[in-house]
Amino acid sequence: MEDFERVFTIEELLPSRSYCRITKALQQMGMNHFSVNNLEGTPLLQYGQDNGLNQIDLSAELEPVGFLRFEPEKLELAESAANFILEVLQTNWRYQMASDIHLQVSKQDYYDLKSKHQQLQESERRYRELSEHLEDKVRAQLKVIEDSQRQLYETEKMASIGQLAAGVAHEINNPIGFVSSNLNTAIDYLQELNQFFSRFLENGTNSTLSDKESSEAEFLLEDFGSLLIESKEGTQRVARIVADLRAFSNVDQSEDAWIKLSDNLSQVARIFLTSVEKKIILETNISPLLPTWCKPAHINQLLLNLLDNAANAITQQGKITLGCEMVNGSIFLEVKDTGVGMDEETKRKAFLPFYTTREVGGGTGLGLTVSRDIVLAHNGKITMESQLGQGTTIQVIIPLKDKSR
């Protein structure tokens, strides 16, 4: 690349096309013998003879680029001529510098533009590639989302199982408490009865009991019996709770089974009652249902979620109605509460994941979302009716399904 800062030679600064005119001008000024030479002494233009001539420097910048040779007696003329030539040299110098820097800048700009263009092409290529693989990438992302959703479902399930376990533990603890206390009392009774009994063994039939003693013994025997009966009822209660719990024990093994949902409903209702602490009346209107092919563990969770929501909507005391019947060959479930109900905004957001009206830690905001997904997985439909202060009704329709389908 030509550099505008380089040192120019006289050949560059004095183009050969102007030799003729300069020679003529110098002649007209009255010079008869002269020449313009470069630094090496080679003449660029010459007139007359080069005998005994003097010379003046021709400097465009600081140092000479050539010389003007002239007759010694025409010094004054020669100085004028040198000035004239200098003007030509400098004009051409400026022109050369301007055109060189212009060229240099244009080339640089062109180069910059070209590299920018290359970058653009490169990024265009990347975008094209990206768009071609977009579907694959979306699918991969979708899988990631599905996986994390499944994980959330698991969390939600575990959360409700945790709540359930706490309620059930309390419910089992209660009978165990009084059974254990009854057994302790029974041991005391047995010791006292043993005293009476050993007296009879020693003295035979001669033994008599005072009135006081006999009424005491009578009480002991009577109470002993009722203690045992009460304890037996307690263990039966525990046994029933455990039996109901079994329905939930396979909550993770969500295998399909051929079941009657009305049985699940009764089971869940009983389990639910063990876990509520408020004064809630649970009314059940369970009509027999036809068996259907479904995931019982999921249906149990759905029912428990709905009952749990209903119980949460009730502040102090209230009523929950749980019903089921066959409607047009489909299973129809309804959970109705007399709780606080929902405003429009809550209704609109109720099914959204992570939306919850409970206090922090009170709920995951996934209960209804999971419930809806369970219903949809069974090709069913879930609807909600609610009015602020009037309670909420959730209705679920699940079509009967054959094992073959």
Binding site: E5, V7, L62, E63, M97, A98, I101, V105
Partner: protein
């Protein structure tokens, strides 16, 4: 950077007057051409202009000859200040040995000054020069105008930078000479590191400045 040509025995140094459009770079150079009487003084070359605005650059060559007959040539350039001419500015700035940044003192020009200085810093980086070590002197021009930034404000702002400031009115030839001398000091010290001007040419800082400003006579 500086260019040493052993065959012709010429060391060429390059100084660039940089700054925003219409801050008075060409006026500085013209005043300098009038004020200086260096040992070697070339003609002022004013290249193509449009409405008195520089399109390419202006050039003022001057020089001195050392005792061993080396010609030290100083080429002083201005750049076109208008934003659109950045490629030209970059070409002129390349390989320079010193910079005078001519700022416009007028109150409404501070943004242009800042923009131009950032542009200078960016170009210096792109050209592989180092802003920290390159001799740079700042001149606040147009002190003769009414609505200008106070010296107090300017000092406050620039005292945090490594660069010194000179106040000038190039139109009245005030401060132009001082600016140039201060830059010459910086340039001498920087070039001395590479060329050992004292050891190789017996050229002291004061005689370097003397010969480039007042010529050989003492």
């Amino acid at each position: 950077m500086s260019d040493w040509n052993p065959t012709s025995n010429i060391l060429t140094l390059k100084i660039v007057y940089y700054g925003p459009a219409l801050s008075g770079k060409t006026t500085n150079l013209i005043a300098l051409h009038d004020l200086l009487q260096p040992s070697f003084k070339g003609d002022m070359q004013i290249l193509e202009t449009k409405d008195d605005r520089t399109l390419f650059f202006d050039l003022f060559p001057l020089g001195l000859r050392t005792s061993d007959n080396t010609l030290i040539k100083l080429k002083i350039y201005t750049v076109p200040g208008q934003v659109v001419h950045n490629s030209t500015r970059k070409a002129v700035l390349s390989r320079c040995d010193g910079i005078v940044f001519v700022a416009d003192s007028q109150l409404n020009q501070s943004e242009n000054n800042a923009e131009s200085f950032n542009n200078l810093a960016q170009n210096i980086r792109l050209l592989g020069l180092n802003l920290k070590t390159l001799p740079l002197f700042v001149q606040f021009n147009k002190r003769d105008l009414p609505a200008i930034e106070s010296i107090e404000n300017i000092e406050k702002r620039w005292s945090e930078t490594p660069w010194q400031v000179q106040y000038a009115s190039a139109l009245n030839k005030d401060g132009v000479y001082e600016t140039f001398i201060k830059l010459l000091e910086l340039v001498y010290r920087s070039v001395d590191k590479d060329y050992h001007l004292m050891d190789n040419y017996k050229l002291t800082e004061s005689s370097f400045i003397q010969q480039l400003t007042k010529g050989d006579q003492d």
